[in-house]
Structure formats: C-alpha cells, structure tokens
C-alpha cells in the first residue's frame, strides 16, 4: 500500500495483560522502525528491521517486549505483562533505506489501566 497502516488505533489493557500491535509498511520499503511516544516531545526508538531481520534492537526492553516482521504478514510489536508505564502512542515507520526518510503510521494508542 501507499501508507503505513497501524492497527488497532486504540488498545486498552489491564495491568499484566498482553498487548499486540500491528504495522503494515509501505510496499517496497525494506526497513521498519518502531517508536514509543510517551510525552508529546519524546520519541523513543525501540527496534528496527531490515525485511524480516532485526536491524537494531538497542531500544527494546527485552524482558517484556518482542517484535517480528515475517514475510507476507504485518510486522508486530508485542508487550507481555503490560505495566502502567507502557501507556503511550506506539508509532511504526517504514523507509526504503536505513538512512532514508521515514513514513509514519497513524500510531496505536495503548492505555494500560
């Protein structure tokens, strides 16, 4: 497609529940990035993929966060046992190159209660 599609738009979870977010990158884009935006002015990098391979995962809290990009499937970001501090907007972006500019999806707002 011509846009990065993220689903769902909103997700509400009780503390300790699992949350799974999806991202379909723009067709032809090899790189996918996940970011967490808690406060309006801060983007925290989580992980990036080059096709189905992890490119950089230095931002991932590995204990509870995991992500995949499998062929012919949307990419996913999963949070096991969510905590209150996981409440944020999670953005996915895709790019043709690792240093190319990024197209962002509309984001998934995760609320952990």
């Amino acid at each position: 497609g011509e846009e990065v599609a993220q689903t769902p738009k909103h997700l509400v979870r009780g503390e300790g529940q699992k949350a799974k977010l999806y991202c379909a990158p723009i067709k032809g884009h090899s790189y996918v990035f996940w970011y967490q935006q808690v406060l309006k002015n801060e983007f925290k990098f989580l992980i990036s993929f080059q096709n189905e391979n992890v490119f950089d995962e230095t931002g991932m809290p590995k204990e509870r966060f995991s992500a995949k990009c499998l062929p012919n499937s949307p990419c996913s970001l999963e949070i096991q046992a969510t905590k209150l501090e996981d409440s944020a907007v999670y953005f996915c972006a895709s790019s043709q190159r690792d240093r190319g500019f990024q197209y962002f999806g509309a984001g998934t707002r995760l609320s952990v209660l």
């Binding site: 309006k40 002015n41 801060e42 990098f45 953005f91 690792d98 962002f104």
Partner: protein, 106 residues
C-alpha cells in the same frame, strides 16, 4: 545521544520568522526534519545529506553544518498551518531530537 533542539517552544504571530536548531553530540552524516501536529503522525519535511547543504520547501528551508554537528530549520512568513512540534532526526534515524513546539497565532 539524542540530539538537542532549541528553543523548546516558540510562539509566533502570522507572518513572523523562526529558527529551530538541532545539535548532536555524535557526528552527523545526514539530518531529517519532521513536523507533528497534535494527535497525528510525524510528517517528513526534508532531508539534508551533505555538510553545508541547504534545502528548501516552500517557505521552510534548512541548513546542515557537518563540522558543528548542527542543523537549523528556517520558517519564514509563518502561517497558521505551521503550528506543530518539529523534530530533527539523526542520519541513522534511531534518534529523534528533543522536539520544538511551534505555535502560530493570528
């Protein structure tokens, strides 16, 4: 490692100019600029790939000083539609700047 932007916030009247600065402690090979409106996704504005390069987009332009590891975004004759939060992004795209909130009022 996150680039630092200044100012943090600015309020302009329509028609006024503004400059937003982005400084990195790491060597910059390229700089990207994005604008995010409230409740929306960031939108790409421009990319600067070489030191000293300046690029323009309507009344928004940017410069990139590789030696100083800095980039500046220039907004001239601001319009109401320019309101939003502006982010710079380092070339490896894993770090976005601290953000600058810009509000244009009539």
């Amino acid at each position: 490692q996150q680039p630092v932007q200044s100012p943090q916030a600015v309020i302009l009247r329509e028609g006024e100019d503004a400059v937003i600065n982005c400084s990195s402690s790491k060597a910059l090979y390229s700089v990207h600029w994005y604008r995010q409106k409230h409740g929306e996704a960031p939108v790409f504005l421009m990319i600067l790939l070489k030191g000293g390069e300046q690029k323009g987009h309507e009344k928004i332009s940017a410069s990139f000083n590789e030696k100083k590891q800095q980039s500046s975004l220039y907004l001239t004759a601001s319009q109401l539609s320019y309101s939003g939060t502006y982010f710079c992004g380092t070339g490896d795209q894993f770090y976005f700047g601290t953000g600058t909130s810009l509000t244009v009022i009539p």
